[in-house]
Point group: C2
Chain length 348, copies 2
């Protein structure tokens, strides 16, 4: 590969001049500038960003550690993060933690070793010493979706409290009284907050949230399946299962289907996170939708603010309830928007 020396030789100038042209430094004669440009073109020269980074101590790269790329919510988040970063002149390197703290640590370490300029993380747990240290020692960092309490790092997330309340109101109106939740890991904020919001909303309707109706999941499909099976094994199973993310909802669907039960007749289902497939499941799934793309963009903007020396602020965006049919049919009076011709297969 051609190096800056080759370009300098071809253009008949010093490497310093080549560098100045490359970096749009003003004090270069028009003549030198055109000769360098020609040489660059001629040789197909591309600056070595590894060398540049070593010298300038900046990589124009952001790290993104997410809990699970295969989760459509995080895939979407990753996409918008990359998009906004690109618009601001940064690349992003994604680390997929797969909901495993050890893998998360691996990626944080690798990213730090690469000297990324800033780190976006959606923590899988309460934070390893490595991550907490990095934050304390001033690595520009922003939490997105999930965060770690007590750490002085801006947080960009959706607040699902109101939407969870709306969901419980919806369920209550449909006559449901025995409501269960499949929670995420208590070590994650989204894991605990969603249960708390659910419990609080139930409280307002005078409904309890017994331990037996609180399934412990890990945001992965398999845990949703297991938790749902335990619910169904109960002497008095819940009337509704609320999965705290879309993958656990998928697992719940698997479990329900395996028993040959019907939704919502035998059991109702709702999920946190909305994804395109929820429209097409049998029946369509009532879900709480997050402004995912906007979260990604805001998180990048906050991080880049920190990287470039400005101050970054936390951002909280609202989530909202999207009512579909998986919790039961609203009576006609309550649902002026129900589509009368909504297509359903009938069994012979």
């Amino acid at each position: 590969m051609a190096s800056i020396k080759d370009v300098a030789a071809a253009a008949g100038v010093s490497v310093a001049t080549v560098s100045r042209v490359l970096n749009d430094h003003p004090s270069v004669s028009a003549d030198a500038r055109t000769r360098v440009r020609a040489a660059v073109e001629e040789l197909g020269y591309r600056p070595n960003v590894v060398a540049r980074s070593l010298r300038t101590d900046e990589t124009r790269t952001l790290g993104l550690v997410i809990s699970d790329v295969v989760n459509p919510y995080f895939a979407d988040l990753a996409r918008s993060v990359e998009e906004e970063a690109r618009a601001l002149g940064y690349s992003v390197i994604i680390g997929n933690a797969d909901e495993r703290p050890d893998l998360q640590d691996h990626h944080v370490r690798t990213l730090l070793d690469r000297r990324i300029d800033g780190l976006l993380v959606s923590p899988t747990d309460g934070g390893s010493p490595l991550m907490l240290n990095a934050a304390r020692e001033g690595t520009p960092m922003v939490f997105v979706d999930r965060w770690i309490p007590g750490v002085d790092v801006p947080v960009v997330r959706a607040d699902g409290r109101a939407a969870v309340h709306d969901l419980v109101a919806h369920l209550h109106a449909l006559g449901h009284r025995r409501l269960a939740i499949i929670a995420g890991p208590a070590a994650t904020t989204t894991g605990s907050e969603r249960v708390e919001a659910f419990r609080a909303a139930l409280g307002e309707y005078g409904l309890p949230l017994p331990d037996a109706y609180t399934g412990q999941g890990d945001f992965q499909a398999e845990s949703g399946r297991r938790a749902t099976e335990r619910f169904l094994d109960l002497a008095e199973p819940p009337e509704v299962v609320f999965a705290a993310d879309n993958l656990m909802a998928l697992g719940a669907l698997d479990a329900i289907r395996a028993r040959g039960l019907r939704i919502p007749d035998d059991i109702a289902l709702a999920a946190f996170d909305d994804i395109p497939w929820f429209t097409h499941t049998d029946p369509a799934i009532t879900a709480i939708s997050q402004p995912t793309a906007e979260l990604g963009r805001s998180a990048v903007r906050a991080l880049v603010d920190r990287v470039e020396g400005r101050t970054a602020r936390s951002v909280t965006l609202p989530a909202r309830l999207v009512v579909r049919r998986s919790c039961g049919e609203p009576s006609a009076a309550h649902s002026p928007t129900a589509r009368p011709s909504s297509p359903r297969r009938s069994t012979p």
Copy 2:
């Protein structure tokens, strides 16, 4: 951040010795080794991989340019690629082309600028000069899923020919005669191959594939929706729509649902790519399943072989048909495995 100099000073040795310890070079005294190890620990020293890369001219990093992270198939592929790479001691940087040749080029360029050791790509088009040049000039490269004919690069992919044939046989047995396909971009191999396989299989049954039944999509949901609408507007619409990937199947579902049509009664649907949600749509979708994780692993192994100077071979794995209910109910005689209690909602 502590540098190798700080470690050397703390351990009372030269930086050369520190480097040797770090790289497990044999000729270091046990004494020096322990002192260096202690200093590393003490200072929390992490080698600067940017500097190391500049010096050694290797980054232990692989680039992966995929067409769309939000496509569950590619998300899955990315996951297995990262997993295998990690096992072999490499990091991977993902570039998301979003099915756009310009974005693909952007990522290839960025990745090359970063001096990645090797490039895994699932090309969105016939290949830009940039990519073709890189391949010609010896950048270790492997194509995965899709490839570019005439370029001397190993290809790791699934062959869907037999599965498409099985699908057509299945459709024919169910009595369907008017079969349509939503193809991917003709510039991609998977775009053209799947239509060709479909056409060939139809031919064996004496069925034509009229132009009107060949929708042009781009592997994204929206194009599947539009193509399906055009099919439904036909004086004689097809009895079956075969979407060449899972996102276009999602779009097809949207279009079908918007018209209030029932699957498979009004129109049947099948898809290339199998994803977990296909089990839970209404009805479950018949699909062609690729060995995604194995494709990712094989691709990484092939690429690392090239990177480390061994020769890499192309790998072709079979895809297989997974029959579900979206193309019609097989008659009892043909489906000994049909679950009699399969749950379905009935309309009042």
